[in-house]
Amino acid sequence: MPLVASTDLVLDAVSEPNRRRLLELLHHGHESTVSELVEASGLRQPQVSKHLKVLANAALVTARADGRRRHYRLDGTGLRAAHDWFASFEDVWQGRFDVLDEIVSTDHTSLPTQPEEHL
């Protein structure tokens, strides 16, 4: 469950399904312009631009200027933060359930006392 500041931004950004869709499209297309993303996603242009701004702010995408056009691609910085965070989520469940297993398999009958060192 621990979060650092940048992880907050990343998780907020990927919590929106259309933004996850854009990330997937960028993965497949490697690099795309806004209009290419509009066509592939079926979203409207203002929506795509807005989502890209949020994704860029979270270091999930970067843009490269080419004349008047901007080419977007995935940025590993934000993805790495999300990936690390999810790994910690799995670790939390694993850790919890290891302790739960210890409780139930050593005490089948009576309630355990509360060991302070676990709290």
């Binding site: 469950m1 621990p2 979060l3 998780l11 907020d12 990927v14 919590s15 929106e16 399904p17 996850r20 990330l23 997937e24 993965h27 995935l74 590993g76 993805l79 790495r80 999300a82 990936h83 965070w85 999810f86 989520f89 799995e90 670790d91 939390v92 469940w93 694993q94 850790g95 919890r96 359930f97 290891d98 302790v99 739960l100 297993d101 409780i103 139930v104 398999s105 005490d107 089948h108 309630l111 355990p112 509360q114 060991p115 676990h118 709290l119």
Partner: protein, 175 residues
């Protein structure tokens, strides 16, 4: 009975928690084998004395469970709260929607950061406890998530939602 109850499989599974995300990222399933019969495992999930020990155990050092209440009857509530150093307080508010001791536990749950009240759609959670082999229990936790539109409600509820692109991420971060 199914292949989960095969003893050699059980031995292999015990101690390992698997989390699987559905294809559309709207739910995830967590499976774990515990070394006690279903009634004991059921109790560990509903008795505050047990919950206080295991629930905060994955949290960072210095974390404290400040509230741990659970009334495991249909329509009953539960409320867990923790403070985590550097991250403030967080709370889990739940309503038991079905209690079938010791086989099944259903609840709607809302996770909130800080002291805010739960709002919006919660997650629907179903826990099943199947007897498995030598006094063991196969626990399956199914969590159905609402559309994760609200960042405040996002963290625990749709933690797995972000993994719709996990394989993508894996490829990228292992570059």
């Amino acid at each position: 009975m199914n292949d989960h109850t095969d003893l050699s499989t059980l031995d292999a599974r015990r101690g390992s928690t698997t989390i699987e995300l559905s294809d559309d990222s709207s739910s995830y399933q967590c499976v774990r084998v515990f070394g006690a019969p279903p009634d004991r495992v059921f109790r560990a999930f509903t008795d505050p004395a047990d919950l206080r020990v295991w629930f905060p155990s994955g949290a960072p050092a210095g974390s404290e469970m400040t509230v741990c209440e659970s009334d495991a009857v249909a329509g009953g509530r539960y409320h867990y709260a923790m403070t985590v150093p550097g991250h403030g307080s967080m709370a889990w508010h739940g309503t038991y929607t079905g209690v079938d001791r010791p086989e099944r536990l259903d609840a709607d749950e809302w996770f909130v950061m800080g002291d805010t009240d739960p709002a919006g759609p919660g997650t629907a959670q179903s826990l099943t406890f199947e007897p498995a082999g030598d006094g063991f229990t196969l626990m399956t936790m199914q969590v159905d998530m609402p559309e994760p539109e609200d960042p405040e409600a996002f963290m625990e509820q749709s933690a797995a939602g972000l993994t719709s692109s996990l394989s993508t991420m894996d490829e990228l971060v292992s570059d």
